[in-house]
């Protein structure tokens, strides 16, 4: 036990997957677009198709940015925990190896925010 305590101090974590009504948490950030102050947190069913996230969810989350409409998804680079990642748009989150509380980012080469400021 790392924490100093007067007796045994061992309690369950607050955010285990079973608490999210069938969903898992996935964090998604768009590199170089800090107009959105932080990456987003989403609850998705593990069976959700990756392509449905990109096509159905990301527009609502990121669409405000003038760069969004110009994204060529074929050229987007993906990262999982900072390491290169190649999602299969037709597979589910689970089949893409994305577990509860994983973090992914996408980078859209050539699109670097408002006036190139990475905003």
């Amino acid at each position: 036990m790392a924490v100093a305590a007067v007796k045994d101090y061992d309690f369950p974590p607050a955010d285990t997957m079973d608490k999210f009504h069938g969903a898992q948490l996935l964090y998604i950030g768009w590199e170089d677009h800090l107009l959105f102050c932080a990456p987003f947190a989403f609850p998705f069913p593990p069976s959700m198709r990756f392509g449905d996230i990109v096509g159905g969810v990301l527009p609502g989350a990121f669409g405000y940015h003038p760069d969004f409409a110009q994204i060529d998804w074929a050229k987007a680079e993906w990262f999982k925990s900072g390491k290169p990642f190649a999602p299969d748009f037709d597979k589910s989150l689970a089949d893409n190896g994305l577990a509860h509380k994983d973090v992914i980012r996408f980078r859209t080469p050539g699109l670097t925010g408002i006036e190139g400021s990475c905003s």
Binding site: M1, A2, V3, A4, A5, V6, Y9, D10, F11, P12, P13, A14, D15, T16, K19, F20, H21, A23, L25, Y27, G29, E31, D32, L34, L35, F36, C37, A38, P39, F40, A41, F42, P43, G60, A61, Y64, S81, G82, A99, H100, K101, D102, V103, R105, G113, I114, E115, S117, C118, S119
Partner: protein, 517 residues
Amino acid sequence: MDMQVARKKLGLKERYAVMTRGLDWTPSYQKMEDIYPYMSYEGIKIHDWDKWEDPFRLTMDAYWKYQAEKERKLYAIIDAFNQNNGHLNVTDARYINTVKLFISGISPLEYVAHRGFSHVGRAFPGAGPRVACLMQSLDEIRHAQTQVHSISNYNKYYNGMHDFHHAHDRVWFLSVPKSFFDDAITAGPFEFMVAIGFSFEYVLTNLLFVPFVSGAAYNGDMGTMTFGFSAQSDEARHMTLGLEVIKFILEQDPANVPIVQRWIDKWTWRGYRVLTLVAMMMDYMLPKRTMSWKEAWEVYFEENGGALFKDLARYGITMPKCAEQIALEKDHLSHQAWSTFYNYAAAANFHTWTPDEDEMAWLSSKYPNSFDKYYRPRMTYWREQAAKGNRFYNKTLPMLCQTCQIPMIFTEPGDPTKICYREVDYRGEKYHFCSDHCKKIFEDEPEKYVQAWLPVHQIYQGNCFPEGTDPTVEGFDPLAAVLKYYNLESGRDNLDFDISEDKKNFAEWRGQATRNI
């Protein structure tokens, strides 16, 4: 009959010693470790409690006399402020949002500090710290009450403050200050003293109070200024308590040094992260700015803190490791923070807005290395969009740091274009952090932080809707339900300043105050 007794009068130190020391007895019915059960588990060794020195040497008669004088002065000014509609003298109604931030974010901490000092005062076997903690506990509840009294005047006329305590327990950004104090009061008594008495009250206090109170002075807010000064006069005693705590613990046993160093590192960082709110307040929310966050940090931490740690070097204590990263963040903190509240204006209990041209010129001049390059473009874009009726309201919930609970808005030290991502796998679960420092705090005591009540996760668990809400019904609007849970009225307490009732009312009332209508 003449009774002439010539005796030498006792000096302050001797008087104080006679009034406060040697008045208790060594227990004989119960063991010391049973009466004071929290004294050894943190690993701190104390050999001689009598070595504790009280710089201010206040006995109760002096305490009540001076505190009563402060209260009389304070309430006279609050009454005058109320009677005179003092709220109409502020520079402009945007300023009032700093007061909303204060009552919902800081005042509840004053109350918890009162409870914390009350608890640790009971926990220490030494008379010296007991007396000091007793007085500080009384001071803190006085602060909580004076703040509620002063700010209640604003609550009569402006929105967002009506249920500040309820908000503190629930609203997404208020978990940041709340969790800071939760962490402190669940720590042992020695850590609490180093965390609050030293790191917060000594190292960082000037970065909370001086900005808010000078801000109030510059912006015509006599109400806040008056409680600020009243509290500050107690703070000097709190600061000396904090410094004495550190010196006392370090002098008692060399084994204490590494434990205290770890606490200083942890709490300076945690306190600094909470001060993110102050940075943006200074640079973006004060219509008339006093100094920049960067300048305040340079005076009150780099210079002042520098002198302090030089003094403590003889014990083997070093400047907290995080000071380096904080220096790098100086140019960015307030801009990144304001961007966050601009993003999430729909979910906050105060308004936000974009800075105008004059204000951006000030920001450019204070931040020549960063504002124009990284932040002016987005502020300008937001401003232009708002003018077109397309004001940005981010409706998607952000990723949060597990330790400081702030959204992951902070960038890599040295590269302000890249979000800083750090993660840890612990017992089969993944945890995320905004920085190496928050990550280390977790790694040192994971058993605490895995239990964090993170607002975004709690919303997704369905725990942030009013009782009886059915999230499965057609057309369910989770954000609307969350606002109800927060007891905030959408369209009134939140959104942009320009469309707010506050702005409209202030203009109308000020107009009335200057004309014969």
